[in-house]
Structures are given as structure tokens and as C-alpha cells.
Symmetry: C2
Subunit: 140 residues, 2 copies
DNA sequence: CTTTAGTTTAGAATTGTTCTAATCTACTTG
DNA sequence: CAAGTAGATTAGAACAATTCTAAACTAAAG
């Protein structure tokens, strides 16, 4: 990992943070790299913190929480609640749902098209639906 | 509250506990009365504890947690996860879904018939779906 | 540069929940 | 009924996840 190399993938991550109106600090850049480097991910604050340490990124757990919340606030991440006592952040912010493997705690995406909601009771006056979460809990 | 009055509604609650294979202790009876007395409810451990205190029912928070988990284990309640950091128990154990009013934190039932799931990616080999949760998050 | 508003940090504090070990009690048996 | 016992309750300690605090830092603006 040698020092803090400004690799080829950085410009993208940097633009991403700037575009969201977030200062591209060393810590945020490092976390954004870990989060968005490859494909969609579902992470926990603690897991991301551990991963950062493994990559020799020095930051505090508080910063990981700050970043996850800031990213979520700017729409770069989405928070998923599965298990009280542990929140999970999803790098896939498009409309989709989840399989939740209760045994392993793993999450797997389900494309939005595969789920169709037939009808809905009137979302009460002046109330707008902000999101529909479908979580399919699986034993295996 | 004058002693532990065996009111008219007790027999039902008592049978309910016995039927589930749970000893009808004073604390469980009191909590079951609060929970099942009228219509479906969504409660938090802390909220139920507060409610019990208001009704001059003396028990500890640990007992509330124990009871909620025991009841859930026996199928008398169902646990809903909405908000990391707070689990919520539902006295309606039939198949149904929820509106979640993010502002107020209130939950409202949606009958199962009103939601239809079109298709599902193969629930991986040997894995069985234990439950499908649909949570419609509403702003209002 | 200098300034400043936003960010990070360590550690303390809070919150929700679970655990422990002692005490109690509902129910069985005699 | 009178033990006896498995199961339940309890206070308080312990834990784990998360948030807060206030001081030190730093990106970006001037
Ligand atoms: Mn976590
Ligand atoms: Mn917690
Ligand atoms: Zn996802
Ligand atoms: Zn419900």
C-alpha cells in the first residue's frame, strides 16, 4: 500500500465527494475508495473501520460514523436496518431490495423489477412515501 | 391497583400464556394484559416498561425484555426492525406489513393482501424464506 | 500566507440490551 | 396442604453500538 498514493481511481472518488458537496479529506477519500472501489457493498461501521485499519488508513471510529452518515445524507449511501443493534450501509443507492441470510448475516441485492407492490393503503394526507423496503429473511 | 385483582379479562390472558407453554406469572400476566387488552399494538421494551409503571405494575426492565422475547419465541408477538437501536414488538402476528412514519416513529399495519410480490430470485439451495417484511417509509 | 468554516479525534458519555447470581414462585408430588 | 424443583424475576453490573464533546487539524477562500 505504500504511502498515500493518488491512484488512477482517485479522481472519480474525489469528484464524487466534491459533487456531493463534501470536502475531500484524507479520511473521506480513503473510506470512499474502500466503499466504491468495486461493485456494490453492504457494510457496517465497525467492518469498514476494520477494513480501513487493514489498509493502514489511520482514522477513528467516530470518523467512520461521521462519514457514513454524511455520505448517507448526501445520497452516496443508503442505510438499511435489519437487525436492531447494528446498522448497515449500502453503496447501491438505486431502488432495490434485499435477501437477508439470517444465519450468516449476509445481504444480497434483489433488483427492483423483481418485486411488485400491488396496491397500497392511501399514504395518509400530506404524507409522501420516502422509500419502500422489502427484506426477505432467509434461513440458510 | 389494590392487590392483584383477577379481573374478567384475565382468564383469556391466562389461557393464552398457558397455551403457549409459559408460566402465568404476575409479571407476565400484567404485561400480557397491557399488550393484548385492546387491538393490535406496536411497542418498544422501554415504552411497555413505562406503561407498566404507570399502571403500578412492579417489575424490572429485564423482565420486560425477558417477557417480550419469551412471547416472541412462542409466537405471541413478532419482532419488527425499523430503526437500528430500538426493537419493536408487534402483537399482530399474522402476515402483514407496515407503514412507518419516520417523523413520529409511528407504525401502522398494512394487511398482507394489499401487497403482492411479483417474483423472487431463487431463494438459494436449501434456504427457506422465513419471512418477508415490507416497510413503507413515509415522511409525514 | 492568513483566516475560517468544516473536519477529525480520543475519550467520555449515552443508550439499548443482555448477563449474572441471588431470590422468589408456580406448579408438581406426596 | 407441605415440601421440592424447575423456571422466573430482579437489581445491578456488564456490554455493544453509537453519539457527544471540546480541542486540534486542515481544505478552501480571500
Ligand atoms: Mn455497526
Ligand atoms: Mn444499542
Ligand atoms: Zn443493497
Ligand atoms: Zn403490525
Amino acid at each position: 500500500m505504500r504511502a498515500r498514493s493518488t491512484t488512477a481511481s482517485d479522481p472519480t472518488v474525489l469528484e464524487r465527494l466534491r459533487g456531493a458537496g463534501l470536502r475531500p479529506t484524507r479520511q473521506r477519500l480513503a473510506l470512499a475508495r474502500l466503499l466504491f472501489a468495486r461493485g456494490d457493498r453492504h457494510v457496517t461501521a465497525e467492518a469498514l473501520f476494520t477494513e480501513a485499519k487493514q489498509h493502514r488508513v489511520n482514522l477513528s471510529l467516530a470518523t467512520v460514523y461521521n462519514a457514513l452518515h454524511d455520505f448517507t445524507g448526501k445520497g452516496l449511501l443508503r442505510e438499511i436496518v435489519l437487525d436492531s443493534n447494528r446498522s448497515c450501509f449500502d453503496t447501491n443507492t438505486s431502488d432495490h431490495h434485499h435477501f437477508y441470510f439470517e444465519r450468516s448475516g449476509r445481504l444480497e441485492d434483489i433488483p427492483a423489477e423483481q418485486v411488485r407492490i400491488a396496491a397500497l393503503p392511501q399514504a395518509p394526507d400530506g404524507a409522501s412515501v420516502s422509500r419502500v423496503d422489502v427484506i426477505i429473511r432467509v434461513d440458510g
